[in-house]
Symmetry: C2
């Protein structure tokens, strides 16, 4: 049971501090999104201590990233994403192998136990597409070729991350069921491919008919929300993250939704996305770095996390030219909440020490913080390209 | 820690069942809002058992009723509400005394202990204005004279309810600090009157200036949310419910907010209000009525709850004519979550037995269920009064 003030007070502190710092960053020409994450660090337990992570914020953060990906999906046509599938697959695979090897290698050289090193590698695998999606959406760049590859690669990346997680979990228990892992991977891939391929067509056929027959006020919005939540649930059951389902739902609806339902969805996202961003900042804990050794390791891991994704994904996209390869490499850098989830499992099962957990959380928060300015640099000169734009076939 | 599926699954079950039953009710010409409450009873632990009340739903329900009252407030001009202040005061006072006396009297005659009887009376005092507000808003009737009196009376009612609660809590502890109670009441009244009187003027002066100077996307929405959360927090500190603050915030912004920010707010309310309604239904527990005696008492209390508010508030508004008096009497009937909160305190402190708690919850849910059709009857023939205010229909 919460006290009566907990909910409105959490709303006020999180939302308002996020918007204030976002405004400040926009004024000095920096991406507002960094301001919102910084707001979390600022009001969090280790600086002002106005707010600690709580249930209210966590639930709204989870919903926030769902709506963020849903909104990003709504700007993407499924057919356009499928067209870059080949390149995206290369980007995703290289973007999993290189960071995993880097994380594992560094920790092993540092003298950490074998299993802990593998877990650190696994925590460096999964890209958090929310940050990149938000930056690109805010600048009207979702229609670019590079943005599409990033989004498609991030979805595949999530499936690969799932398989990596299944493998390391098996390792940690000392038992490995390869059939199980193969089935899990196949189900996740099958679900994603199926919705991406048939979702949009189905929605365009079914939605207008359903919407026009309903008596409910704002029926189209109600249907859109139902699709969003249903696909998020199915995604979890299929083994991928709820946000992949949310992204697929947005994409399925992207050509079937009119502006009224879009505006209403936009309102929800405007309210909830700051909770996702602030919640990342709230996780930041400088207290983990009690020894200068740990701090040094954290900086090395951070450098490796940035470099390995940039190089891995960049190489995967090299046939698109160096400009786009660099954009894609940068876009895949943020690890956000995904790395923290893996590290959380490691900590809970006793595989990861508190120090290494702190290193991974630091890496997750910092890769997320550096991505927006890097993206701004990488996309310099590119102005918002309308989604309609006809593009050459790739991959 | 929740499992990954809990949040999207709660969203899907609650939102979609609410909208499906709302659609069903609209189709047969009944208020959709009853369908949404029924959805909670249907999927709740005692029928289909698909869903039990959980943290996700409770938090979203609390936010939902805040946004509901905020949205209702946005359709009301403060000056118009102040104009009906005298009548509203009469309605509120009579609407507190008569139900309190009825609840106390019935339980005493039934042979319940003195303090439990007083608590039951207290639980019958506070009107839940959310339901009435939603019904009137959905039918475009917020501009009517009766609607304004209902809203003003509900705000005063909340303050009186606070004082009653302070008194019965004191009684339950066996100590009564009259000075404390007087101070609490004065602070609550002062806060409410102050915001109602000066909020709108201040917002009209400050908001356009702030909005035009901000670099943030959707700056006006961000400011509106900040006002909403800030006044909700202040309301709790002043001793009234957060939703009173939300209503006052809406009213303060009603003449200073443009349609874009309204649409975004509307989206949030569309998503969250069903959680408030379904959560009421989820509380319904027929298991409380193990004996036919308890069921009989529940029906008597329910009848008294409806009649006492109708008579008390109707008498208070009699000088407005019998039609409006009946409308106001009916509009004040729903007790919604407020009665349940009082009963919850009674149960937790051991003053109320499980059986009487069940009776109060039954009364709260049922008064909420009967209000929409009664309102429909009472406002028959009245069509939405847009007049000068070109307000969008909500609901």
């Amino acid at each position: 049971m919460h006290s009566a003030v907990e909910i409105p007070l959490s709303m006020l502190l999180v939302f308002t501090s996020a918007k204030l710092l976002s405004e400040l960053f926009e004024r000095v020409g920096q991406p507002g999104i960094i301001g919102e994450i910084l707001a979390g660090i600022l009001i969090g337990p280790h600086l002002l201590a106005w707010m600690a992570p709580n249930e209210v914020i966590r639930i709204l953060a989870d919903l926030g990233v769902m709506f963020l990906l849903f909104r990003v999906g709504m700007e993407i046509k499924a057919a356009e994403l499928m067209r870059v599938g080949g390149t995206a697959m290369l980007v995703a695979v290289a973007g999993v192998i290189v960071p995993f090897a880097a994380g594992w290698g560094i920790c092993t050289l540092w003298g950490e136990p074998r299993i802990e090193s593998i877990f650190t590698g696994a925590a460096m695998v999964a890209t958090s597409v929310g940050i990149t999606g938000q930056v690109l959406a805010a600048r009207g760049l979702l229609g670019t070729r590079a943005a599409r590859v990033i989004l498609a690669a991030a979805v595949i990346d999530d499936i690969l991350g799932l398989i990596v997680l299944a493998i390391v979990s098996g390792l940690s228990r000392g038992e490995m069921n390869y059939l199980d892992i193969a089935l899990t991977g196949t189900l996740a891939l099958g679900f994603t491919a199926f919705v991406a391929k048939f979702g949009s067509r189905t929605a365009q056929r079914v939605l207008p008919r359903v919407g026009s027959r309903m008596h409910l006020a704002e029926a189209e919005f109600a249907v859109a929300m139902t699709v969003l939540f249903a696909l998020s649930v199915l995604a979890v059951y299929a083994g991928v993250a709820a946000i992949v389902g949310a992204f697929l739902a947005g994409m399925a609806l992207s050509e079937a939704t009119r502006s009224r339902a879009r505006d209403l969805t936009h309102g929800v996202a405007e309210l909830l996305v700051p909770f996702f961003l602030v919640n990342i900042g709230l996780q930041f804990d400088p207290a983990a770095f009690t020894s200068s050794g740990t701090l040094l390791l954290a900086l090395i891991v951070l450098g490796a996390a940035i470099a390995s994704k940039f190089i891995g994904c960049g190489l995967g996209a090299l046939r698109m030219g160096r400009t786009d390869a660099a954009r894609i490499g940068v876009g895949m850098v943020p690890r956000g909440e995904v790395g923290m989830i893996v590290a959380g499992i490691g900590l809970k099962t006793g595989i990861m020490s508190q120090a290494i957990y702190g290193v991974v959380v630091f890496m997750s928060v910092m890769t997320t913080m550096v991505a927006p300015p890097l993206l701004k640099m990488a996309f310099r000169g590119e102005t918002g390209a309308p989604a309609e734009e006809e593009l050459p076939r790739i991959g």
